[in-house]
Symmetry: C2
Subunit: 131 residues, 2 copies
DNA sequence: ATCGCACACGTTATAGCATAACGCAATTGA
DNA sequence: TCAATTGCGTTATGCTATAACGTGTGCGAT
């Protein structure tokens, strides 16, 4: 149950994200891939769905945008909670993971008898350079 | 610098959210307020902007929707990070706060020399009843 | 008092994000 | 071979959010 071979469209979308400085919206990706034959949003969204499923890409909910995962070796194991800092100045996104937060959240949620499926942690602000 | 008197539109939107079981999208709010004279999305969005600013309402990024704040006394003090569990089954949203998470996130972010402006924590899953 | 400013409001139009529904082609495995 | 699955392409549509314009009202400063 690793990552299967990517299809052509999936590879193109993955490539666009991987070579991008920061997050991209689906429509921005679409525009970047027009030369490769992309014509409709669904081509992007369908590829993104798979890439998200494989853990190769993250969705930034507060931005309606997508980034390539920067923890290349985590796709195999069951990965935990992913958190992001998002700079409002330069758009830079930094992905990080922390076991303490994970455990604390897990405990709080368990106290509610809530069953977690997906956790979103996004911190908007300004990075060192843009402060 | 407490919460100023709400305008008519702000009160109507606040009321709609307060009496709702769960989160509502801006357009759902609009529909609920047609009878009160609302005609355009901007009437809702402008009211929501203010209510968010006053801390009376939260935006759920992963849902593109809004909920009334359930911690009625926190609007005065400087409130910290707000987290939510969101049940995919019944739509129930529970707001909670935790100093430990707040401190841990603060430390991690400080290590990046990142300056936080707004933190989003949303946990999607299933509540006790919907498990 | 009236001018200027800030702010809320109303309206139309448009931009930006996401999915429904259809049909076709290729692959695979019973 | 047939059926099921998966990816793909296309058109159309729906949902979310904001731009840009103008109006009215309250209020403090001159």
């Amino acid at each position: 149950m690793g990552t299967p071979q990517l299809t052509k469209n999936q590879s193109l979308v993955m490539g666009a994200l991987a070579h991008s400085e920061g997050p991209m919206s689906a429509y921005t990706i679409l525009d970047k891939l027009r030369d490769e034959g992309f014509r409709a949003p669904l081509q992007v969204y369908r590829a993104l769905d798979k890439l998200l499923e494989y853990g190769l890409v993250h969705r930034l909910e507060s931005l309606n945008a997508f980034v390539a995962c920067t923890c290349p070796h985590e796709h195999e194991h069951d990965r935990g909670v992913t958190a992001f800092t998002i700079c409002e100045g330069c758009g830079q996104v930094t992905e990080f993971h922390d076991a303490a937060i994970e455990e604390r959240l897990s405990a709080l949620v368990r106290a509610q008898s809530f069953k977690t499926e997906k956790t979103t942690i996004e911190i908007r602000g300004h990075c060192k350079s843009c402060a």
